[in-house]
């Protein structure tokens, strides 16, 4: 397989001016990241600052109703409330080792922005965050958090004003500021080496989950389910299980409103091959190769592309990718909240919803792990807007 590729997908489709910083980063991934010093420091940060391991929680009420065992990998319990912190602390530490004083990043739901701003504070780095203007409006809570952490927020007014445009702007900024800034890419997508680098830092999720489920049940799970935006939480959850052929890997893409022809965020199911943001991958695009706007009620899933390793896992059939629409995700949010007292992020609610919607396909007594990538606090405004009119009393909501 060509370096930087997963099957036919991946690569480094960037301006020549970005090749030197990508080379530098590739070298850092090969030399610094595997070093015992780096690994020791990173593990200590994950343990003492993030609060790892995150628990693997059994859901007694829902499991009883479903007839199989639902387990949640609790990335929502991490410091800053999502899986994003695993990656940003890894990259912040790498920034230090590379001798750069600052990081830049892009964010959709804001969780990557908050996690990057936090990691920057923890390791005394400057931080600038690009965020689509639409996302600034719908994730105001996280914007405030980033500002309090001392990060500079740049609202992006171009294009669809969401994650894809924030990435464009971040790439532009990086060309100019590459000598002092590390681009802390927020998901397992983009030009090589980012998909591999981010997977490296997120794979702790699946490693822990694998050990925990073996310890608790004595066997490997029937399936591991995770939502897919760019694909970082999913690749993190999947990676340790890829060699376990009996374990089904299920990624869940956002179908938007689910109406025919609506904007969605499901490039693996509804897109085609193309090149965007430095990678050959599956994309939402028209027949002229222009990128189509995406949509999801979950800002963190609202991206017209997907990390190249998922495109490959999809192509090779090792993982299966389903879709869940906005309404199903909102319903799953309420179901989990009311059944177990756990309020998932709207992104993670897509993964929960896939399990609820596909309950008949899962054998009785099976063990299913859902990666709960984040907590729902950040989504309160959206939840209110969608569920505000509905009666929200009573056990089943």
């Amino acid at each position: 397989m060509k370096k930087g590729y997963f099957g036919d997908f991946g690569g480094q489709f960037v301006a020549e001016l970005l090749i030197p910083p990508l080379r530098e980063l590739e070298h850092a991934l090969e030399t610094i990241v595997p070093s015992p010093e780096f690994q020791a420091e990173f593990s200590a940060l994950l343990r003492d600052y993030v609060g790892r391991k995150s628990p693997l929680t059994h859901c007694p009420t829902l499991s009883k109703e479903l007839g199989f065992n639902l387990w949640l990998k609790r990335e929502d319990l991490n410091h800053t409330g999502s899986h994003k912190i695993n990656n940003t602390l890894g990259q912040a530490l790498l920034t230090k080792y590379m001798g750069k004083p600052a990081m830049l990043t892009e964010t959709g739901a804001g969780m990557n922005g908050v996690a990057t701003a936090t990691a920057a504070r923890a390791l005394d780095l400057d931080c600038i965050v690009f965020m689509g203007a639409t996302d600034v409006a719908r994730q105001s809570h996280n914007v405030r958090r980033m500002q309090l952490l001392g990060a500079e927020i740049v609202p992006v007014q171009n294009g669809t004003k969401t994650l894809k445009d924030a990435i464009n702007e971040a790439l532009r900024y990086w060309i100019a500021e590459q000598r002092t800034h590390h681009y802390c890419f927020g998901t397992a997508a983009g030009p090589h080496p980012f998909p591999t680098l981010v997977r490296e830092f997120q794979s702790v999720v699946g490693r822990e989950a694998r050990e925990q489920i073996l310890e608790k049940t004595g066997e490997l799970p029937y399936a591991v389910v995770a939502c897919v935006g760019g694909g970082s939480n999913a690749i993190g959850a999947f990676h340790a299980f890829v060699p376990d052929e009996s374990v089904r890997l299920v990624g869940v893409e956002a179908a938007g409103t689910g109406e025919p022809g609506c904007y969605n965020s499901a490039p693996l199911n509804l897109g085609s091959r193309g090149v965007l943001h430095g990678q050959m991958t599956m994309l939402l695009q028209d027949e002229d190769g222009q990128i189509l706007p995406s949509h999801s009620v979950a800002a963190g899933l609202d991206y017209p592309g997907v990390g190249p390793e998922h495109a490959h896992l999809h192509d090779s059939g090792r993982a299966h990718y389903g879709t869940v629409n906005d309404a199903q995700a909102l319903k799953a949010f309420m179901t989990l909240t009311r059944s177990e007292g756990i309020m998932p992020a709207l992104e993670s609610s897509h993964a929960v919803a896939w399990v609820l919607e596909n309950r008949d396909r899962i054998p009785k007594g099976a063990n299913v792990i859902v990666n709960l990538s984040g907590r729902g606090d950040k989504d309160m405004d959206i939840i209110e807007e969608h569920l505000g009119a509905q009666p929200v009393h009573g056990r089943k909501g």
């Binding site: 690569g11 480094q12 489709f13 960037v14 301006a15 020549e16 001016l17 090749i19 030197p20 171009n158 294009g159 894809k164 445009d165 990435i167 464009n168 790439l171 532009r172 060309i175 100019a176 590459q178 000598r179 091959r273 193309g274 090149v275 965007l276 943001h277 430095g278 994309l283 695009q285 027949e287 002229d288 190769g289 222009q290 990128i291």
Partner: protein, 255 residues
């Protein structure tokens, strides 16, 4: 190895004691009709080579002026197919050589074999694809060169000599030296390191050197002397067209 028409064209201008002029205009800007008027004005106004942009929804190596013009052209309904058909209908009418500058994805969706065939029939002499660096370009370069078209490399302040030499081993046409570590857009001054980058390019390449990004006035070029052979201007031209509705006066400055 045959010499590219692009190389010949720049050498001819240099032999006449001047820098070759390479304006850039996004296809379909500002709308589908006026675009052809501007293209003809650039041609009549002394352009040696015209870089015609193929608008893309996500031009992440471009600054705000080019991005806005590209989006405007997309909204006006431009597509690669429209552009190639229009150029084909006018093939042979332009004095200047034509180069298509665009991001990879629209070219990929069109299909590279068909692209090479249709572009050659439309009188296109070369391509610039900013998100297709050396490490990825081999299959695409082969298809374009198979139809006699050049794939022009972009290099910059942070491209070392070794990498320039690697480009030089395969490149045709001319070398596009990016004047700044940044995106497209007119600027007041250039970084001191630019002289070193131009010297490296001169050492590595046997092709003419064209300087682009940030250039808006002929006077800016004086400091470069013989270290460049051609000049590329885009954002300044787009801004001028926006302000005056005409490309002619802009070209007159450089003649």
């Amino acid at each position: 190895m045959t010499t590219s028409k692009l190389t010949e064209r720049i050498r001819k201008a240099n032999a006449a004691g001047r820098k070759a002029l390479i304006p850039f205009i996004p296809g379909g800007f500002p709308d589908l009709e006026q675009f052809w008027t501007h293209l003809e004005a650039l041609d009549a106004g002394g352009a040696d080579i015209i870089e015609v942009g193929v608008p893309f929804s996500d031009p992440c190596a471009d600054g705000p002026v080019v991005e806005k013009a590209s989006i405007q052209a997309l909204e006006a309904g431009v597509s690669l197919k429209w552009l190639l058909n229009g150029l084909k209908a006018r093939a042979g009418r332009f004095q200047a050589e034509l180069v298509l500058m665009g991001y990879l994805n629209p070219f990929l969706q069109y299909g590279f074999e068909k692209l090479a065939e249709d572009a050659a029939a439309a009188g296109v002499s070369g391509f610039i694809i900013p998100d297709l660096p050396l490490d990825e370009d081999a299959p695409y370069r082969a298809v374009l060169q198979g139809k006699g078209m050049a794939l022009v490399p972009l290099v910059g302040l942070n491209t070392d000599l070794e990498r320039m030499k690697a480009y030089a081993a395969v490149a045709k046409g001319y070398v596009y030296v990016v004047s700044v570590l940044g995106t497209t857009g007119a600027r007041e001054s250039f970084p001191a390191e630019l002289a070193d980058a131009l010297a490296r390019a001169r050492e590595a390449f046997d092709l003419p050197i064209a300087l682009g990004f940030g250039i808006k006035e002929p006077a800016q070029l004086e400091v470069f002397g013989d270290s460049i052979d051609a000049v590329i201007f885009g954002s300044a031209l787009i801004t001028h067209i926006r302000e005056t509705g005409s490309a002619k006066a802009f070209m007159a400055r450089w003649a």
